[in-house]
Structures are given as C-alpha cells and as structure tokens.
C-alpha cells in the first residue's frame, strides 16, 4: 500500500516536472514568436515589460486571467466550458510518451507512436466542440475547416510515420531514437527526407499554424473556432495550440533528427569535444530550431486558400508519402548501407 502511494507520488512529481517547464516554454514561445516575427518585419517586438520585454508573457497571462468570461446566450454552456479542456488535455497528455533522454520518459510504452498520434488527433475535438457550442457562424465555419483539415493532413502524417516505423522497426519512441545512432548521416531525415518534409508540412497543418491557419483565418471568419471565447477560455486554447506546436517540433526531432543523440559520433575530433553535452541539451537545441522555423514560416508565407490546402494534402502529400514508403521498403529489404 505504502509502496503504491510512493509510486503514485513519484509519477505525480514526474508529471509536474514535465508540465511546469512545458507551460513556461509555451509562455516564452509566445514571446519568441512576437520577437521573431517583429525582427523579420524590422520591428522590435515587445520590449517594455521587464528587461527587453521578458516579462511580457506574464503580463499577458495576468490580463487574460482577470478578464471577464463571456458565455454567449443560446450557446451550449457545458460544452462551451469544457471545449478548451478538450483542446488542452490531449496536448499535455501526449507528453507522457515523449522520451527526453535515454530512460528519461514518463511512460515507456511500446505503442508510443500510436498513442502520440491518437493524442495529437484528439486535439481537434476541442476545436470542433468549441465551434459548435459557441452558436456562432464564424466559430462553426472555423471548426468545420479545422476538422476537414486535420483529417486530411493526419493521413499524410500517418503515412510519413509508417516510413519511420519501417525504417526503425519499432513503435517505441526510445527504440526509434536509438535506431538512429551513429552521427548526423544516420538520422532518418537523410534517407527519409521527403517523408521528413511532408511530416513537417502536415504537422504545421495539424496544429493549424500559418500558412495553414484557415481555421482562424482572421480576414474571413474573425478568429475562427475561438471567436466567442474570452479570458481564461481563450488563454487555454492559446496554450494548447502552442503546446501542440512544441509537441510537433519534439516529434520531428525524435522521429527524424535523432532525438537526444549528438550529431557527431565515433572517434572524430568534434565528437570528443561535444561528448560532454548531455543528451537532453541536444534534444532541446533541435526542438528550439524547429520552433524557430515554425515562426519563420509564419512570418514568410501567405495563407493557403481552402481548395489549395485540400489539393496539397490529398493530391501531393499523400501520394508522395505512399511513393516514398515503397522506396523505403525497398531500401530496407535490400539493406542499403549505412542506414539499414
């Protein structure tokens, strides 16, 4: 009995150790986003609150928390209140299966890939429920778009993952990372480059980020599914969106960029220098790089039109992934060195 409680406590401590840094990084991701986009547009970004605006996320948070929560009349109140949680919970729950370094994982499940995939797909339920429960035409349209988009791009994402599964021969995330041992050339992003890029594009679409942010297309449907939300409800949607961004960046790192593995290996000069860098630092560096590109892409590309989005998803990404899965299978069967 006592042992059970201690295990439970230990798990709760681990969860806190994951969630608190995650929420902090979400806060600073919003700051980084405003800064990066500001710099790209030759502005300064927030620089008033604290040193160089570093306290800006907390000022925003306090503002959002103290704002009034407005529940629209004739909305479905229970669903309206629950919807943000439906968006937030999967975005946080997915982190249970993420290994941060060798053995540093909350739950080392063997079907980790499937779990992650299902969790990242569940996020759309929050959006759908929010759009429907708001009883607003803009929210409804945004939710419909988001649902269609997520379903379309999930297929491409799933197929891209099939390539990784073929190559690594495992669904356990730790094993997938370990199968990429041996320096930068052995990472799956080299033999599976098209799948890597397709997974990236589909991941951006999955998180409803620019240039695929039709679900909240400001110019047409105000703010999309969360148009009726204010205060803390809006903040939770915001939080879940950024948490899923970080999640997608982490998945890219784990599946294609060798997770916590150092890009240098063997007995080379660089490998000896970088031997002291811990695995989690490599993981964080890679995640930050992907997140930066997320923001960079947002600042660069205009939004897709809806039919273009569907065309890209169904006519280019899905056939592309299927084609490269066949090539991957051939590579695996013929044991092409140095990867298989």
């Amino acid at each position: 009995m006592l042992q059970d409680i201690s295990i439970l406590l230990w798990i709760i401590i681990k969860i806190i150790l994951i969630v608190i840094p995650l929420l902090l990084s979400v806060a600073y991701l919003t700051y980084a986003e405003r800064k990066v986009i500001g710099y790209i547009q030759v502005r300064l970004g927030p620089n008033r609150v604290g040193f160089r605006g570093l306290l800006q996320p907390f000022a925003d948070l306090i503002k959002l928390i103290t704002k009034e929560i407005i529940i629209p009349t004739k909305s479905n109140k229970y669903l309206f209140v629950i919807a943000p949680l439906f968006a937030l919970v999967p975005a946080l729950a997915a982190w249970a299966a993420i290994p941060f370094a060798q053995g540093m994982v909350l739950s080392n499940m063997n079907a980790g890939v499937l779990y992650l995939f299902s969790m990242s797909s569940l996020g759309v339920y929050g959006v759908l429920i929010a759009g429907w429960a708001s009883n607003s035409k803009y929210a409804m349209l945004g939710a419909l778009r988001s649902a269609a988009q997520t379903i379309s791009y999930e297929i491409a994402m799933g197929f891209a993952l099939v390539g990784v599964l073929l190559a690594s021969g495992s669904m356990n995330l730790t094993n997938i990372v370990n199968s990429q041992q041996g320096g930068i050339l052995h990472w799956w992003c080299v033999p599976l480059l098209p799948l890597f890029i397709i997974f990236w594009i589909a991941g951006i679409a999955e998180t409803n980020r620019a240039p695929f942010d039709l679900a909240e297309g400001e110019s047409e449907i105000v703010a999309g599914f969360h148009v009726e939300y204010s205060g803390i409800g809006f903040a939770i949607f915001f939080l879940s969106e950024y948490a899923s961004m970080i999640l997608i960046a982490t998945l890219l790192t784990l599946f294609f960029m060798g997770g916590w593995l150092s890009p240098f290996s063997g007995d080379g000069f660089l490998a000896n220098i970088f031997y002291i860098v811990p695995g989690i630092a490599w993981l964080l560096i890679k995640i930050v790089g992907f997140l930066f590109v997320y923001l960079w892409i947002r600042a660069t590309f205009p939004r897709y039109r809806y039919d273009q989005l569907m065309r890209l998803g169904w006519k280019i990404l899905i056939p592309g992934t299927i084609g490269w899965i066949c090539i991957t299978a051939l590579l695996v069967v013929s044991h092409v060195k140095p990867w298989f």
Binding site: G38, Y39, I40, V42, R43, L44, I197, W296, I297, T300
Partner: protein, 170 residues
C-alpha cells in the same frame, strides 16, 4: 520536346520547394539584419522624430524682450483665420496704446494653418512645435490670452531661434 522539358523543370522546382526557400531566405536576411541593428524604430517616449523649425503646432503669443506683449490688436489674424477660431477684443491703455483685452483661440476650430502667424505684423501670434497636448474637459479648448502668453514665455528661446533660422524665407 521543349514543352516537356519545361514541364519537368517546373515540377522539379516545385518539389524542391525552391521558391519557398527563396522566400525564407529573404525573411531570414531581414531577421539577421534586425538582430544586429534596428535603425527604423523610434522608441517614442524616449526618442522623438525630429521636428522642422516650420512645424505648425500649438499657438502662442510672444512678448518683446522688455516684457511688453507684442500684440497691438490689429485683428489681422482674426480676419485671415479661415476657421474663425480667433476672437479679439481690444481697448486703449492709460498710456494711449491699443492692446487686447481678450484674445481667445478655440482649439477645436483651429486647423493649424499658420495664416495668423503670416498675417501678424509684429510676430506676436506664432505657431510652436508643441504637438503633444490634449483637452480633458469642455472649456479647456479655449486658449485665453494668459495661456497663450504663458506658452510664449515658456518657448521664447526656441521660437526666437526658429524665427531666426527661417528669416530669409519669410
């Protein structure tokens, strides 16, 4: 044959995402530039944009160096004002000179055209570079003679310098 070649080239280009990468390079260039310096942004309360000596802001009444107000109540400014913002009443003093007893400018009517300054024979009514001002309550929009003179006293050094600078063009 040429058409097929061009088609292939087109597909190659779009599948290699060349144009997307070109766009990313452009924005990335600006990101790196603004990481090192930003010469465009003026951080307003601390820094301000330079103001021309001909800037037409809030109005003011000037005095002579001996403290006597310049205005002789000729009412040329009142006559020339296109927005009818100026109201002047005048009376002779004990020493026989004519001076204003009332000189009101309605800041709601004033369009900052500067015609009053151009018409003034004694450089009394002038435009100042003050442009950060606000009106909180009804009635504050009427700038009385005392207020205008106070602004003139406050800004006299700069007003005189600006007038000197622009002397050749007036």
């Amino acid at each position: 044959m040429k058409k097929i070649y061009q088609r292939c080239l087109y597909y190659l280009k779009s599948f290699l995402l060349l144009e997307l990468l070109a766009g990313l390079m452009l924005t990335g260039k600006y990101f790196i530039i603004s990481c090192f310096r930003n010469r465009l942004t003026i951080q307003f309360p601390e820094e301000q944009t330079p103001i021309s000596p001909r800037f037409r802001g809030l109005l003011a009444l000037r005095r002579y160096p001996n403290g006597e107000e310049r205005c002789i109540a000729c009412k040329l400014c009142e006559a020339v004002c296109p927005a009818l913002a100026i109201t002047i009443e005048s009376a002779p003093r004990e020493n026989g000179t004519r001076r204003t007893t009332r000189y009101d400018i309605d800041m709601f009517k004033c369009i900052n055209c500067g015609l009053c300054e151009e018409s003034c024979p004694v450089d009394s009514i002038v435009v100042t570079p003050i442009h950060h001002y606000h009106i909180l309550e009804r009635g504050q929009n009427i700038m009385s003679k005392e207020k205008l003179l106070a602004i003139g006293d406050l800004m006299e050094d700069q007003l005189a310098a600006d007038r000197l600078h622009e002397r050749d063009f007036r």
